[in-house]
Symmetry: C2
Subunit: 400 residues, 2 copies
């Protein structure tokens, strides 16, 4: 059993949270969550690129043209995907029920689901639980929301930063769930970010997109992409700061904090990959372009042979070289350096015979594989985890 | 321990074979093989598209512009990849040594290597073994060649067909090795095919390419692609048949036999995937184009979640739907049917609740997943295997 960082009691002014057990999961664990803003918030969202999308994802994409939200209701235990017309009706019922109980417009309510695909969606179970869920809404309950969205995650994932804007301290806080089906663009990943900072929607949207591209889209657990992936961010402006726009002097700070939060969450997802015993960070330097660097970093992060080698503490750099070679990027074999946690294994394309030191380095819980391509100045990094018998056990028997 | 089909004593007129233990593998198993034609043969070859290529692959690509070969020397236990100038020199030494011992031109000799990457190549060990290897050359020894090229394979892979051409019976026989690092375009896969049929090089090359596209390029074990993949085919013409050209009436029969052999070998490779307990064949029908069908078939065959579900006999069709959705092909969710070994699990995009029957069907050693997209008439099939703890065990500790 892995443990995440200690969860603190974070307050984000104007936001309230709840996470309860509604009886969707057989285990009796928390499975229903609510994020509520006291006033409508500027909202941005990114959704799975899978052609087969869960009902709530289809609805959210449509609804988000308003760039406004006040509540997000999230369940785990059932993905409401491949559920046809009935699933769509069920998602709409959950949204209208939540809006009704909260006394707000259904157009300001979004729903999100994660769990097994293709099972009838338990809309009635959720509707019955709504009054109890709303009674639990609390400024301090972000941690309960974070745990209610978990599926095979072993710890709740929360990250936050404070940002100074015109003499005031704003807060950005994010929660995520990950575990399996994680692949760039995107994962069975849900991520919700809230902030009291006032920001223009035309500045929020590209900031969120950039943050996702540098974190979740550089994250791979098993190359699979789900029907439900969702990142949503709500900014309710309760800080009463001068509105941040793309040309605002505070935009850079805002983006930096957001990038740090999403990278934190992505790292936690990798660390908590199904069956993982090690976090792997792949750093590619010396590339001709950051796109080249990114392709190579992901090619290595996706390699089952690299991931099993890290698990077995086997400094088999040939597998890293092979993954560089099939990334599609043109490289010069005799300029490539490869290090594992600072032990240089390959110099100018050839082995250094430092394999014993590398094997020791691989004992570490965090393994950083650094590639210097020696052909330019651009870089990128990707996140993944080792591949173990635990992944097989979880996925051979999860679901039915 | 799995067992392949019984290996018969096949004779292909004009060819002789040998496979011995030269001491490259610590295990003492066969690790050096020779394929020899009594006269120069028309030859075609396909090689890894990995940008990082092993020394013998670089040499073979260059040399094959002649479209001629008389001998191929193959070793397992060391890939001679990422070995720099020394590796190139070692490969050239093996080729010239073999040519010298056989008394033929070095331009007619090819070498091929498989095994660990980045280790100094044991050219001296191989050169010392050459006289013994050549003494063993025998018309009946194809099976020894097939076992000498194995790495983590658990059985030798041989397939052959007879083809009638103008009243004469020609033979085509192929051997292959697979196991890990198997991905379309191509795999840590070596495949050598020989025939006594006389065929024009301009007819042989496209026939081999088509056969590879329908078999090895539709095969996935773990998405990894090696630095050494090689398919070579030699046709020595000892049958004395009227030369086959692209417009010859016998070309279709020749191609059909070749397609059957490569599909047989690809199926054996999937069946013998590292740690595999089941062969999985993915059949996609009703597509708008065969390219669409192929993309979907490979997307499913590459899904770790589908492969672990098959291992766990879990009829989790949501994972199949997700893989269809992220294949990049435009599909109509409400037209998709999915069956497992004839049990229909999904009809028009919705579950049929026949999960118990599907679970029973998944007990079979061969699992056929059939998708009908309901949008056209084209189809394709892909081959893979289940993903088990055995894969992890083999790959966490293989190599160093």
């Amino acid at each position: 059993m892995k443990r995440g960082p200690a969860i603190r009691n974070i307050i984000i002014p104007g936001f309230r949270f709840a996470g309860i057990s509604a009886g969707i999961k057989k285990s009796g664990n928390r499975d229903l969550a609510l994020i509520y803003s006291e006033s409508p918030a500027v909202t941005a969202g990114l959704f799975t690129t899978n052609r087969i999308k869960a009902a709530p994802v289809k609805l959210a994409i449509k609804n988000l043209s308003s760039k406004k939200a006040q509540a997000i209701i999230i369940n785990s235990g059932n993905a409401n995907a491949c559920t046809g017309e009935k699933g769509m009706k069920a998602a709409l019922e959950v949204i209208s029920g939540t809006a009704h109980e909260l006394g707000i417009s259904p157009g300001l309510v979004y729903s999100s689901s994660t769990g097994i695909i293709g099972r009838p969606f338990p809309a009635d179970t959720i509707k019955k639980a709504l009054p109890g869920l709303i009674r639990k809404l609390n400024r301090l309950s972000l941690k309960h929301t974070a745990s209610a969205i978990m599926t095979t995650d072993t710890f709740a994932k929360i990250s936050f930063r404070q940002v100074e804007i015109a003499g005031k301290k704003g807060t950005i806080a994010g929660i995520a769930k990950g575990a399996g089906m994680i692949c760039p663009h995107m994962a069975t990943m849900l991520c919700f970010i809230v902030t009291d900072i006032a920001i223009n929607p035309h500045a929020l949207d590209p900031a969120l997109r950039e943050a996702a591209n540098r974190s979740f889209n550089m994250l791979s657990v098993d190359n699979d992409m789900s029907t439900n992936d969702t990142i949503m961010m709500m900014a309710n402006g309760h800080l009463n700061n001068p509105l941040i726009t793309k040309s605002s002097p505070y935009y850079t700070n805002f983006k930096r904090a957001l990038n740090e939060i999403t990278y934190d969450l992505a790292r936690m997802i990798a660390e908590d990959g199904e069956g993982a015993t090690k976090l792997i960070e792949v750093v590619v330097k010396g590339a001709r372009s950051s796109s080249d660097a990114g392709k190579i970093a992901l090619s290595i992060a996706n390699s089952m042979l690299v991931k099993t080698a890290v698990y077995g503490r086997d400094p088999n750099w040939g597998r890293i070289m092979a993954a560089i070679g099939y990334s599609g990027v043109s490289v010069k074999e005799n300029k490539i350096d490869i290090s594992i946690n600072k032990v240089k294994l390959v110099s100018k394309g050839m082995g250094t015979t430092r394999e014993k030191a590398a094997r020791n380095a691989l004992s570490s819980k965090t393994v950083i594989i650094t590639i210097d391509l020696g052909t330019g100045k651009e870089n990128a990094r990707a996140l993944t985890c080792d591949l173990t018998e635990g992944y097989i056990k979880i996925n051979a028997h999860y679901g039915t």
